[in-house]
């Protein structure tokens, strides 16, 4: 079981900054995120887009903001459980919590900080009759282990970067790769589009556009898919079908944790961003209160106040005052120390 002081659910900018603020108070953090990498929306949706309203940064790319936040918090050695979704929570006798992910990983912490943004990113599933029946039996919305596709006939649907990138990658793994997209145009990095074009000419990718997958076939395991193009439908053999139509955030299981929910968000007390369950806080885009603004900079503020409250809850009666990093420096949990250089005092003779 993973043990920590503050268990942060959501590794977006607010969750990552919590690591830093908690670290200043000697509190250790562990983060859970459904995505395979930290950064939340900043790294999943728009890593190359600029953000203009982070104080002190006239312009910063979302991906760079994520890297900077990771760098800023790294001396506090946060732990990560990535690619797993926080599923259930139970309260222990001593008032702490055990959070278990969809893959069964257990985390034990006295404080929970939900920084889940708009929720965990779930794949957008195409509306195909009976698709659920084939999930994990030939249909997958994520590629976890590319080896699963070795020497298989794979059909990929979608027109974005994931569909292009995985088609390119699997062209060398699978026995056959078919990429189906509703348009002739793809929305992806130019080099990926060009690479797919090249692989198509080499007959390593079978490209069918403008077309759509309209049906799935197979008794127990998937055996084929119907592809409709120009009103004409044909069935092609397929061992595996991977629809890649992007991700959409859902509040998900957190919505069933007994927290007060309003407008798809968790209601908090603006004194310290605590929820209706003592010991559980909600910060960043996932919370709501009168006057709430879903801005990264507001998430940073909320994280800072929340950490002070968590400290008091964990150390009742223990004195502490806010310190300035410029004055006191930063002592990392890894033994590192950052501090401002001492003033030089020297006589002029």
């Amino acid at each position: 079981m993973i043990k920590t002081d503050i268990l942060i659910i959501g590794a977006g900018p607010t969750g990552l900054f919590t690591v830093f603020e908690a670290g200043l108070l000697k509190l250790k953090c562990h983060l859970i995120d459904a995505l395979p990498q930290p950064g939340g929306q900043c790294s999943e949706l728009y890593p190359k887009k600029p953000i203009y309203d982070i104080p002190g940064f006239p312009e910063v790319l979302a991906g760079d903001l994520t890297s900077n936040l990771l760098e800023q918090g790294k001396q506090f050695q946060p732990g990560f459980t990535l690619g797993e979704r926080a599923e259930t929570i139970e309260k222990t006798e001593d008032g702490s919590f055990i959070v278990t992910t969809n893959k069964g990983t257990q985390h034990h912490a006295p404080i929970i900080a939900i920084a889940g943004g708009l929720g965990s990113f779930e794949p957008r599933k195409p509306k195909l009759e009976g698709i659920e029946k084939y999930e994990d039996k030939g249909v997958a919305y994520f590629i976890k282990d590319p080896e699963v596709y070795r020497n298989k006939k794979v059909v990929i649907a979608g027109g974005g970067d994931s569909a292009l990138d995985w088609s390119i990658f699997l062209a060398d793994v699978a026995s056959e790769v078919t990429l189906v997209h509703r348009r002739n145009e793809f929305r992806g990095a130019l080099d990926s589009v060009e690479k797919v074009q090249e692989l198509k000419l080499l007959n390593k990718i079978n490209l069918i556009t403008p077309a759509e997958i309209t049906d799935l076939h197979g008794d127990d395991y998937l055996q084929g898919v119907s592809v409709t193009k120009d009103g004409h439908t044909e069935i092609i053999e397929a061992d595996e079908f991977i629809p890649l139509f992007g991700l959409s955030p859902k509040l998900g299981p957190i919505g069933d944790w007994g927290l007060e929910i309003e407008k798809n968000a968790i209601k908090v007390n603006t004194f310290d961003y605590s929820t209706n369950i003592p010991g559980i806080y909600a910060i960043g885009d996932v919370n709501t209160y009168e006057g709430k603004l879903k801005l990264i900079l507001c998430g940073f503020h909320e994280a800072t106040l929340m950490c002070q409250s968590a400290y008091k809850r964990l150390n009742p009666g223990k004195k502490f005052v806010l310190k300035y990093t410029t004055v006191s420096g930063i002592d990392g949990f890894d033994g590192s120390r950052k501090e401002s250089p001492k003033a030089v005092v020297k006589a002029i003779v």
């Binding site: 348009r183 139509f245 955030p249 798809n264 709501t288």
Partner: protein
């Protein structure tokens, strides 16, 4: 600057007539959000970057709109429930030309 009148049918089929300012650099998705005509978290998820299609709408009037750009077109090519008259409302800036526009919000997926 004049406000414009826009008729919006929400996902439950209820019709709303709203006023939208033309001088606040708003887009149609933001107008829908400002009147809370769709639940928070179910519209404008990507913030208005034509990257999620959660603000897809159907345009039911002959109002002349700004031309669709490549990123909107590409996003719609991956979205669900797309029709001939689909647009991403985040890509439609509120201008005086929109007066009388009628739209219907596409289903939440």
């Amino acid at each position: 600057m004049q406000d414009v009148t826009i008729h919006i049918t929400d996902r439950e089929g209820e019709k709303h007539t709203v006023l939208a300012p033309t001088d606040m650099a708003m887009n149609l998705m933001e107008v829908v959000r400002s009147y809370e005509l769709a639940p928070e978290g179910s519209i404008g998820v990507c913030g208005g970057m034509a990257m999620c299609a959660s603000c897809q709408c159907y345009v039911n009037s002959n109002t002349e709109l700004n031309t669709m750009e490549d990123d909107e077109d590409a996003m719609l090519s991956e979205a669900f429930n797309v029709k001939e008259n689909s647009r991403l409302s985040c890509q439609i800036p509120i201008t005086e030309a929109l007066n009388g526009l009628e739209i219907e919000l596409a289903p939440d997926v």
